[in-house]
Amino acid sequence: MSMKGIRIEGLKKRYGSGDTAVDALKHVNMHVEAGEIVGLIGPSGSGKSTLLKCLGAVIEPTAGKMVLGSDIIYDNGWRVRDLRALRRDRIGFVFQAPYLIPFLDVTDNVALLPMLAGVSNAESRKRAMELLRELNVDHRAHAMPSKLSGGEQQRVAIARGLVNRPPVILADEPTAPLNSDRALTVIRLLNDMAQKFETAIIVVTHDEKIIPTFKRIYHIRDGVTYEEKGEGRSPTEMAT
């Protein structure tokens, strides 16, 4: 195990107590290396969203351990004081819908995160432009989100997830609203970005067309994860 990426050991999450208690996560083990992209697959109610919320430091697990890079962030209790700062600086999010801020243009949607972290406006916008260029949407840098196509919006959302160079990105069904070509393009971009920025990416998905692209897949069922080897096919080849 390298010093980068994310590692989860024996993670549990129980909602409620007593007779009405529900164990949404019973035993979750995962590890994702830096530069790796893995799929997380499971039926509705299997605990995917709960796991994503725990990994995203949005809800507190009941027990277990989470290690981000070389830092233990959870060990039967949070080990970091400022969860907002943790989310802002060390976890990137890409959602099913892009959820761009409608009153900010493309550049500022991406630059907002470093600005929130205290980086100057000029430096934040410079970082944003670099990423937009990488993701080939720099020509829409000053457009408002409502003027972008679905694919462009999702690329901007990926740029926003990457802009603070987080060690881990949590992608919640990022290709759900896209057709096959666009879905494979998004996965290719995520692959490229994972390798370029040494980011560990966990993609929660139901999308049959992108599942063959993962080298490793975690299945989750009734709150328990099972690791499986994936096909690892190239999204570019699949698209052609």
């Binding site: 969203s49 809800i59 907002r84 989310r87 999010f93 500022d108 406006n121 408002m144």
Partner: protein, 401 residues
């Protein structure tokens, strides 16, 4: 850090401007209400200032002549003139009535002024056109707010008066424009009965054996004669000689003449504290109601705008935005809405509402400053509900599931 509130306002400028415009009209009405109160107080002060008096001598134990009826014999002024410190005295009558001209009429306060020269207490201090009254009967000086012009002939009771002069801002404490006529005419107008009533009174007097005594010739005629004249005025206006204290002079008049005397400050207290007190309370209540309505509207609008951004707020919280940034977003929008509303309100009150309002509306700069501060405080308070709602938004909503 960029201003999220500013960007949202620029992005949805139409929504903010139109909402601010509606709020502004409400604020404009609120400012106008405050202006109406100020105008009423100013009207009262103008009435006192323009009377040229330092003391008002009225019927004992009354608060006349403006707030209560007051009757004094019209020769009382002779006794007062001889008091120490008195420079000038003049009788005055006030009668609020409809003054007719060419089939229409105007609500006005008719003041009967003593013969004299400009500067005599009760006389209008300044004319904007024409001349003062120079004849003993049937001439009038009117305020321009009556709509009368020089040379117009107006009817007061049974008599016709020619307008020979025009004044400006000569109004009663109710804001009615004033018309000045000779004292004798005003005394007659004040108690003038119709011909049937006069004949009936003469008949009753003649039927009264106390007045109709064959052994006392002339008694009946004398009794009837006293009934056909009005020897009363409402007040005596007194100017105090320089170097004399009006309070001392007032005390002397009270002690020696058994009359009630008010100084300028006391009369202002009567006008503002008693005469327009009910109106002031009504206006204050309107101000309170309008402020509550404005608060409710701002709170509702900001709450609606915030509810429309719940998903964005969830995303902002998920990506690590601090609570104070979200609070600033909502509060700044609320204050911006208030600022837009205030500018629209101030402009509409100054340019559109005040000029067309039938009463004098006095918009003081200090009231505008207080109004602006009040609007900002209301907007801050109104945003609290939305801020609480925003802070309760769970960042997990952005993830779904």
């Amino acid at each position: 850090m960029i201003s999220l509130a500013g960007r949202d306002i620029i992005h949805s400028w139409g929504k903010f401007v139109f909402t601010g415009f509606g709020l502004g009209l409400l604020i404009g009405i609120t400012l106008s209400m405050a202006g109406i109160y100020r105008g009423m107080v100013d009207d009262a002060r103008v009435l006192l200032d323009n009377s040229g008096a330092d003391l008002w001598v009225v019927q004992k134990n009354t608060i006349g002549p403006y707030a209560e009826p007051s009757s004094l014999y019209d020769d009382t002024w002779r006794e007062i003139r001889g008091m120490p410190g008195v420079k000038q005295v003049a009788n005055i009558t006030y009668l609020t009535m409809q003054v007719a001209k060419d089939g229409s009429d105007v609500r006005a306060m008719v003041a009967g002024i003593s013969p004299g020269t400009p500067g005599t207490p009760g006389w209008p201090p300044l004319l904007v056109a024409g001349r003062h009254i120079t004849r003993s009967h049937y001439e009038a000086v009117a305020d321009v707010a009556t709509g009368f012009k020089l040379g117009d002939v107006v009817r007061i009771r049974r008599n016709h008066y020619t307008v020979v002069g025009l004044t400006r801002r000569m109004v009663s404490s109710n804001g009615d424009p004033m018309i000045f006529i000779p004292l004798k005419d005003a005394q007659e107008a004040q108690f003038l009965k119709d011909n049937d009533a006069i004949r009936q009174q003469r008949r009753r007097t003649a039927a009264n054996p106390a007045f109709n005594r064959p052994a006392v010739p002339g008694l009946l005629e004398a009794a009837v004669a006293t009934q056909s004249v009005n020897p009363f005025v409402n007040a005596v206006l007194v100017q105090v000689a320089s170097g004399h204290n009006p309070l001392t002079t007032a005390t002397s008049i009270r002690r020696w003449k058994n009359l009630t005397v008010y100084t300028r400050a006391q009369m202002e207290e009567i006008l503002v504290g008693k005469l327009i007190a009910t109106s002031a309370r009504q206006i204050f209540m309107f101000l309170v109601i309008l402020s509550i309505v404005s608060s409710a509207i701002v709170a509702f609008i900001i709450y609606t705008l915030t509810q429309g951004k719940i998903r964005e707020i969830a995303v902002l919280k998920l990506i690590g935005t601090k609570n104070r940034t979200i609070i600033a977003l909502i509060m700044q929008q609320s204050m911006a809405l208030g600022a837009i509303g205030f500018v629209v309100g101030k402009i509409s009150a100054t340019l559109f509402m005040a000029p067309i309002f039938p009463k004098y509306v006095l918009l003081l700069p200090l009231d505008s400053v207080i109004g602006f501060i009040a609007v900002m405080i209301i907007c801050i308070l109104a945003s609290i509900i939305s801020i609480r709602a925003a802070l309760k938004v769970d960042p997990a909503e952005a993830i779904g599931g």
